[in-house]
Amino acid sequence: MHAVTSNGTPFKFSDAALAEVQGLMKKYPDDRQKSAILRALHIAQEENQGWLSVPAMDHVAEVLSITPIEVYEVASFYSMYNLEPVGRYVLEFCHTGPCAIEGAEQLIEYTKLKLGIGKNQTTADGLFTIKEVECLGACGYAPMMQVGQYYHEHLTEEKIDRFINDCRAGKIDKGTWKMH
């Protein structure tokens, strides 16, 4: 469980994001617009440098016409929401059983040493955060890490090196998060 932190600059959805969230609210019956919260928070996080600040959560509450506490309690429950600032690229390593027996723990150690950070820490240049997450459903293609919307499967030290180099060179397409 994470604590809700109170820092963060003011936040408002972009026009496109606001229209998207309002569209999502219509997928649920009248007065059930609260159901759009999970997706609205994903969008808010995307537009707030990868994390949910209190202003971002308060804005989601306002748009959904619910109380801020209803947003905080949801945001603090689900593991995909970051309640602290993160780097531009969040490297989420699966370390559950099937990935562990294929060497996930060693790859995580390798990456921590390479970047000089521990889990849930961000490099000084603000580029990378390392997270250790539980099973992402890629057990047959283990080990793996998720970055943004992309699964890097059959992961190796070489692939990690190449990915980190590509990130540093600005070669990662944020639309797909794939390497070029």
């Binding site: 609260k34 159901s35 059983g97 997450v133 099973c135 459903g137 047959g140």
Partner: protein, 449 residues
């Protein structure tokens, strides 16, 4: 070999598009159901098929559907559980990525059977690219007239939406999924009332796994009796198995229920045997929650009979010497793997994923993780082994939802079958940090004469 019902066309070029899917017989089940069958007749076919829930519990689907309350003027909902998060399980992902229209078609036919006019696919948030695949398929289905108002001119309306989660294993539990879909924390509800009476927004609701809903398509196309001809006994039809671990060919396979475990594990058609010429040490047959089996109980049951890939055969022997088919997450361990470490790893998973409502699960999973960690790191005491078993026993059956049981079973079964390996960790604290134990001995009583 055996017939494929779900993945038959999964490798056809462009099958994720509406045109190609339709060309290969797609949406016939909707035509057949809406034009020639009443909703109750569709439910009857599913009952006849013997289809059982493919998410893990194996409850008969037709029976589940028949429990749905139908009060006048109250909407009913069908929810597809695509929250696939059980370690070892990646079959639904494969189906949705490869052949998304099969799920959409199954949702339409099933929603018609249940009288639902709005249905949702609740998919785990990490599968974000599959959300796009499904939404594209849904848009194509709307454009072709399979969704929306007055489908096929038969007066039936259906809207279908995708609702991504945000990272929580517990949301695969059906009442937690409903809470999450209502925009709340995924805390499971106390049952009764069951979702069939009071589910989403207190309305009658059915929650079915992706594979279950997809299986409705061949059942309606070919008839429930045809479907029931596949498989053995009460394990009818086909099942998707996601195989991983120390095997030559990890992947998703559709098998006819009744294939022997030995064939599935060693034949080149499926897992292709243990990788690097190693020996089999253990098997988790149906996702991390099911009891782990030692090598000598994998291909044969305690009476020395062939074990089959069916609900009944895998469960043969109960928790003493059997396991469960579960979700079909088939995790294979070779002789080099450490059972104590694996049990610690799974327990950490359950501790992390416990929603925290029930004390036995919230506290018990944490204590089990703690004790397993010290055993694994050469700091354990002999009494820790019974302590672990005791904590696991106190969680089991004492929680609102089955996550407690799911956390207890891997621990109970690991101690039951691998006690000598646990004891070795205590006796040889230095050695256990340097190497793993190897295979456990088969007890005398199991050796066949």
């Amino acid at each position: 070999m055996g017939r494929k019902l779900l993945l038959e066309h999964a490798h056809v070029e462009g099958i994720d598009s509406y045109e190609v899917y339709r060309k290969h017989g797609g949406y016939r089940s909707v035509e057949k159901a809406l034009k020639n069958m009443t909703p109750d007749e569709v439910v009857e076919e599913v009952k006849k098929s013997g289809l059982r829930g493919r998410g893990g519990a194996g409850f008969p689907t037709g029976l589940k559907w028949s429990f749905l309350a139908k009060p006048e003027g109250v909407p009913r909902y069908l929810l597809c559980n695509a929250d696939e998060s059980e370690p070892g399980t990646f079959k639904d992902r494969f189906l949705m990525e490869k052949i998304p229209h099969l799920l959409i078609e199954g949702m339409i036919t099933s929603s018609y059977a249940l009288g639902a006019n709005t249905s949702y696919i609740y998919i785990r948030g990490e599968y974000s690219w599959i959300v796009k695949i499904l939404e594209k398929a849904i848009a194509e289905a709307y454009a072709a007239g399979w969704l929306g108002k007055n489908i096929l001119g038969k007066g039936y309306d259906l809207d279908l939406y995708v609702n991504p989660g945000a990272g929580a294993y517990i949301c695969g539990e059906e009442t937690a999924l409903i809470e999450s879909l209502e925009g709340k924390r995924g805390n499971p509800r106390i049952k009764p009332p069951f979702p069939a009476v009071k589910g989403l927004w207190q309305c009658p609701t059915v929650v079915n796994n992706v594979e279950t809903i997809a299986a409705v398509v061949p059942i309606i196309n070919d008839g429930g009796e045809e479907y029931a001809k596949l498989g053995i006994g009460k394990s009818t039809g086909t099942k998707l198995i996601s195989a991983c671990g120390n095997i030559n060919k990890p992947g998703v396979y559709e098998i006819e229920l009744g294939v022997t475990v030995e064939q599935f594990l060693y034949s080149d058609e499926w897992c292709g045997g243990i990788k690097n010429g190693k020996q089999l040490k253990a098997l988790v047959a149906g996702g991390s929650s099911v009891p782990i089996l030692p090598h000598f109980l994998v291909t044969k049951n305690i009476r020395g009979e062939q074990r089959l890939m069916t609900y009944e055969s895998l469960a043969d022997g109960g928790f003493e010497s059997g396991t469960m088919l579960g979700s079909g997450g088939f995790i294979v361990y070779d002789e080099d793997q450490c059972i104590v470490r694996n049990t610690w790893n799974f327990t950490r998973f359950y501790h992390h994923e416990s929603c925290g409502q029930c004390s036995p699960c919230r506290e018990g999973t944490g204590w089990m993780e703690h004790v397993l960690w010290r055993l694994e790191n050469g700091q354990g005491k002999m009494s820790d082994i019974d302590l672990l078993a005791d904590v696991a026993k106190k969680i089991e059956g004492n929680t609102i939802c089955p996550l407690g049981d799911a956390a207890a079973w891997p621990v109970n079964s690991a101690i039951r079958h691998f006690r000598e390996e646990f004891e070795w960790h205590v006796r040889e604290p230095k050695t256990c940090m340097e190497r793993n134990y190897g295979l456990v001995k088969e007890p005398e009583m199991y050796v066949q004469g």
